[in-house]
Amino acid sequence: MHQFLQQIFSGLAAGAIYASLALALVMIYRATDLVNFAQGEMAMFSTYIAWTLVNAEVPFWGAFLITLVVSFVGGMLIERVVIRPVENAPVLAAVVVTIGLLLIFNSTAGWIYSYTVQDFPSPFPDRPLFGALMTTRDLGVIAVTLAMLILLFVFFRFTATGLAMRAAAQNPDSARLCGIRVGRMLAIGWGLAAAIGATAGIMVAPVLFLDPNMMGGVLIYAFAGALLGGITSPVGAVVGGLIVGVTENLVGTYLIASQLKLTVAFALIILVLVFRPNGLFGTAIVRRV
């Protein structure tokens, strides 16, 4: 029983990271109807920026905040420069662009930082808590994710810009008629998604270690989480990410070798697509013709 609870808690910590990245995917999907395959590599690149800052003796949380700001601006720039030109192109063109971004970020990181695996410091000490049910590190990761989710919720629910972003995603023409600059809202969406991804990368790097390929697996789990929750639902992304984290951990502990854990994510993706394509919280996509 004790081990079982332990696995649940460490699954929740991993799930919180998947949930963050899933949320970034959902935000971009809702705003631009596009699955951003480069989300993981963007997060990895942000993590390298944080690593560089930490190595330059910037205090950890300072480096964290600077990285968020840089990632936000970078995400906006990517939308402006790379995504905007294919906004009205067929979906396939846009997908190819995001895959291109994935390769570019991966190779650029390898070129600048090399493919050598690096240690990444954790801001949280690694001490057992509650009779070794969980560690302070797990708790820290969950707390940071939770804080980020609350901030996002407040932003989207109560600020004029947050509301305008929801409106722009839902009905761009009506949003324009209200005087909302839809293009700017999309750019902010990409910026936020990049910053959320950066948080996920920084939180996961102490566990996975830092190298240009570190986010590959995480992105797959995040996809599974986003699909499970329903790719249109931010709440679904968070719930889905947490479920994937716990499931993956339990299955890896009790059922299959932990090297095969990633198959859980693929199995989940296929099951969701076959039996419940809208996920747990998603709505069917209705297109006006």
Partner: protein, 235 residues
Amino acid sequence: MASILELRAVKAFYGQSEVVHGIDVAVEEGGMTVLLGANGAGKTTTLRAICGLVKSEGEILFAGERLDRRTTEAIAGLGVAHVPEGRGTFVGLTVEENLRLGGYTRLSAARENIQRMYGYFPILAQRRRQQAGALSGGEQQMLAMARALMMSPRLLVLDEPSFGLAPRIVEDIFTIIERIRQEEKVSVLLVEQNASLALELADHAYLLETGYIVTSGSAKTLADDPQIRRSYLGY
């Protein structure tokens, strides 16, 4: 009276095809002008051209400013509020969120404007926390108009406010449009299928047929025109 909106030789496009072939329309400051015509005459496309939602050629002047070549959001910022065909409410958001969005260009006055809108449309105050998609057709139309008025516009562009509504509700809507026009001191450009009701309220009217203006004049003159009576009024 001075015109607040003037269209000069305006062509408008639906996709790539030209459906409005160079029309001249003027809306008087403080007045209500109606654009009549059969389905497919180009009424909606004309309105969408004014708000920059479709491609257009020619000059569109609003209070001395050129609207053509401005973006839709910039046109809204100048004080042109458009209630589009199909109402264009944000169905997934609450009534109050819809109103807050309407006030996006006038954030400092939003709170007070929302209360004023609840004064015009008490039903919206009751439904403020409901999703806009859950409202009835008449309520959605009221929400769409309230959303547009939230920007304290100088020109209100209404595309078939009566669409899909029961006759009694249509009368309510038009009564309130008339009240709003006077109390908000807003000029109105209206597209309407219900010609008799529209001609009763409007002071000027234009008749659009397959992309051309075929008749225009005071609403009273058009209401007395035998051909218009036969084709659009049915008596």
